[in-house]
C-alpha cells in the first residue's frame, strides 16, 4: 500500500521536474546555441500529462478534488448524498479506465507512432487506464478509511 503510494508520488513529482528541465533546456539550446532537440518538446508534453494524471489519482487518496457542500454531512440526506456520490465517482473512474484500455488497443492495432519520439502511441496512451484504475483504487481506499 505505502509502496504504491510512494511510487505514485514519485512518478507525479519527477515527471513534472523532468518536463520543466526539458523545456528549460530547449530554451537554452535555442537562444544560446541556436539549435533545439526536436523530441524534447514532445517528451515534455507527455511527462506533463503523466504528472497531471498521476497526481490527480493520488489526489483521490488525499481528497484534493474540491466539491460543493450544500447538505450537511450529519443529516440522513447528507449521508445518502455521500453514498451516491461515492458510487458515481467510482463508476466514472472505472468507465474511463476500461474504455481507456480499448483506446490503447485501438492505437496498438493502428500502429500509431509519435511524431518526434518515434515510440508507439499505445505506450503513451497507457497513462489513461493506469492512472484511472489507480484513482479508483485510492478512491475506494480513502472511503474505507
Amino acid at each position: 500500500m505505502e509502496k504504491v503510494a510512494r511510487l505514485n508520488r514519485f512518478v507525479a513529482s519527477y515527471a513534472l521536474a523532468l518536463a520543466v528541465l526539458l523545456t528549460f533546456l530547449n530554451v537554452v539550446l535555442r537562444y544560446i546555441f541556436g539549435t533545439s532537440l526536436s523530441f524534447s518538446a514532445e517528451l515534455a508534453s507527455y511527462l506533463f500529462i503523466v504528472s497531471a494524471f498521476f497526481a490527480a489519482s493520488l489526489g483521490f487518496k488525499e481528497r484534493i478534488h474540491i466539491s460543493v457542500e450544500f447538505i450537511s454531512k450529519k443529516t440522513f440526506l447528507g449521508k445518502l448524498a455521500r453514498y451516491v456520490s461515492f458510487w458515481i465517482t467510482l463508476i466514472f473512474l472505472l468507465f474511463i479506465a476500461i474504455f481507456g484500455i480499448e483506446f490503447v488497443s485501438l492505437a496498438f492495432d493502428m500502429n500509431e507512432i509519435s511524431i518526434d519520439l518515434n515510440i508507439p502511441m499505445w505506450i503513451i496512451y497507457m497513462i489513461i487506464p493506469i492512472s484511472f484504475f489507480l484513482a479508483a483504487f485510492w478512491h475506494i481506499k480513502s472511503d474505507i478509511k
Binding site: A19, V20, V27, A41, A56, I64, I66, F95, F103
Partner: protein, 425 residues
C-alpha cells in the same frame, strides 16, 4: 434535450457533493453514451487529448515557481520592500499588504497563493499594530485576487486555451487593469485610514528603501524574466514559466539559502498536487465543452440571443451577472471552461474583442473568489486569521465593492485592456 440533460446532470451531481471534476466528466459521459451515438472510447481519448496542449504546461510550472519562492524568504523580502515604500502613510500596513500582493501577483500565477504568501506574514503585523480586523483581513483577501489579473495568471492560461487566443496578449492585457484596480484598492484604504485617523509610522530614508529593494531584487528579477521575456517576444508563456522555475530554484537554494535540495521534492509534490486539482478539472471540462460544441449549443444560443435583439452593452451586463453567480459556486477554471465556449461566440458576433472579453471574465472571477460559498480566497483568509467565512466576507466588503467598480470600468472601457497588447503587437 441534450443540453437540458447535460446541464441538469451537472448541477444535480454538484449538489450531491460529487467533486466538480467528476461532475463535469460523469454528466458528459452519461449524455454521450445514452443520448448520442458516440463511441464511449472517444471519452477516454478526449481525456488524454484535452491535456495534450503545450500552453497548459505553463500551469504546473508557474505554480512550482510560486511555491519555491513563497516557501522561503522571498515573500518576506517583497513585504519589506512594500512597507518601506508606503508604510509611513496613513493606513501604512494595509497599504503595504496591497503593494506586496501586487508585486507577488507578478511572480505567482494564482490568487489563493498570493493570499497565503502575503497574508501569513502581514495579517499578524496589521492586527498587532492596532488596526481593526477588517483592515487586516479585507485588504489581504481582496488584493490577493490580483494574482489572476496581473501576469502570469493561471486563469488567463485557461481562458487562452479555451478561447483559442494568444496567452501572451492576454497577459499584457491584464497589466493596466491590474494596476488600475490595485491603485483603486490603495486609494480606498488610504482615504478610509485618513478618516479613521490611524497612527502613522516613521517614514524610511531613501537609503533604507534602497536596501529593501536590493534585498528583494533577486525575487523581483523573476518578474523581469516572466513579463519582460514574454513582452519582448523571447519566450512563449510556457518557456517563460520553465525559466521562472529554474531561476526560483536557483535563488531559493543558492542566493537566499531558504531551502535545501532535500526539501525540493516536497515542493515538487505539493505543486504537482495543486496543479493536478486544476488540470483534472480542465480535462473533464474539456470533454464537457466538446459535447456542447458538437451539439451546436453555442451556435443555437448565439442565434437565439441575436434574434432577441441583444446589444453589446446588455450582453456584457448579462455576462457579468451570469459569471458572478457561476463564480460563486464553481472555481474559476471550471466556470471558464463551461461558460466561455457558450458565451464567446455571442461576444464575437457582437464585435467584442476576445482579449477584452477575457479580461472581463478574469476580473469577474476575482469577485467570485471573495464571495461565498466557494470563494477560495475567503477560505484561505479565514484559515490564516481564524475568523469565520462570514466575518472575512463582511470585512472585505469595502474592497470587494471597489473591485466591482473596477469590473464595470474594465467591462465598458475596452481600451483599458486593449491599449497595451495593441501597442505592443
Amino acid at each position: 434535450m441534450i443540453s437540458l440533460t447535460l446541464f441538469g446532470l451537472l448541477l444535480s451531481l454538484m449538489a450531491l457533493g460529487v467533486p466538480v471534476a467528476i461532475a463535469l466528466g460523469a454528466s458528459t459521459a452519461f449524455t454521450l453514451v445514452f443520448l448520442t451515438d458516440f463511441d464511449p472510447v472517444a471519452i477516454s481519448a478526449l481525456m488524454f487529448e484535452s491535456l495534450d496542449k503545450y500552453a497548459l504546461m505553463a500551469i504546473p510550472m508557474f505554480i512550482l515557481a510560486g511555491n519555491l519562492l513563497s516557501k522561503g524568504s522571498a515573500a518576506q523580502r517583497i513585504v519589506n520592500l512594500a512597507s518601506s515604500l508606503v508604510g509611513h502613510l496613513p493606513g501604512g500596513l494595509p497599504l503595504s499588504a496591497i503593494m506586496a500582493s501586487v508585486i507577488f501577483a507578478a511572480v505567482s500565477g494564482s490568487s489563493p497563493a498570493t493570499v497565503v504568501a502575503v497574508g501569513s506574514i502581514m495579517y499578524g503585523a496589521i492586527s498587532d499594530a492596532g488596526y481593526p480586523k477588517s483592515y487586516a483581513i479585507g485588504t489581504i483577501a481582496t488584493s490577493g485576487t490580483l494574482g489572476i489579473l496581473i501576469p502570469p495568471s493561471i486563469v488567463m492560461i485557461i481562458y487562452g486555451v479555451t478561447a483559442d487566443v494568444s496567452i501572451g496578449k492576454l497577459f499584457m492585457a491584464g497589466i493596466i487593469p491590474g494596476l488600475m484596480i490595485a491603485s483603486m484598492l490603495l486609494l480606498v484604504t488610504y482615504v478610509g485610514a485618513k478618516r479613521l485617523g490611524f497612527k502613522r509610522a516613521q517614514a524610511q530614508t531613501f537609503k533604507q528603501r534602497l536596501i529593501a529593494l536590493k534585498e528583494a531584487s533577486w525575487a523581483l528579477l523573476t518578474i523581469v524574466f516572466i513579463i519582460g521575456g514574454i513582452y519582448a517576444g523571447i519566450f512563449t508563456p510556457t518557456e517563460a514559466a520553465s525559466v521562472a522555475v529554474v531561476w526560483a530554484l536557483f535563488i531559493a537554494i543558492y542566493i537566499y539559502k531558504d531551502i535545501g535540495w532535500s526539501e525540493v521534492e516536497e515542493v515538487l509534490f505539493s505543486s504537482a498536487k495543486t496543479s493536478a486539482m486544476i488540470l483534472f478539472i480542465i480535462a473533464n471540462a474539456m470533454i464537457f465543452s466538446f459535447l456542447l460544441t458538437i451539439e451546436n449549443i453555442p451556435q443555437d444560443l448565439t442565434s437565439y440571443l441575436l434574434e432577441s435583439g441583444v446589444t453589446p452593452i446588455i450582453f456584457l451586463l448579462m455576462v457579468n451577472v451570469i459569471l458572478f453567480f457561476a463564480g460563486d459556486f464553481m472555481e474559476p477554471s471550471s466556470v471558464i471552461m463551461v461558460l466561455v465556449p457558450l458565451l464567446l461566440p455571442v461576444a464575437l458576433t457582437l464585435g467584442i474583442n476576445p482579449i477584452h472579453f477575457g479580461v472581463v471574465v478574469v476580473v469577474n472571477m476575482e469577485l467570485g473568489m471573495i464571495t461565498p460559498p466557494i470563494g477560495l480566497n475567503l477560505f484561505v483568509a479565514s484559515s490564516i486569521s481564524g475568523l469565520s467565512l462570514k466575518d472575512v466576507m463582511i470585512a472585505s466588503l469595502p474592497w470587494s465593492l471597489t473591485i466591482l467598480v473596477g469590473l464595470i470600468l474594465v467591462t465598458y472601457i475596452p481600451q483599458i485592456s486593449l491599449f497595451l497588447p495593441e501597442f505592443l503587437y
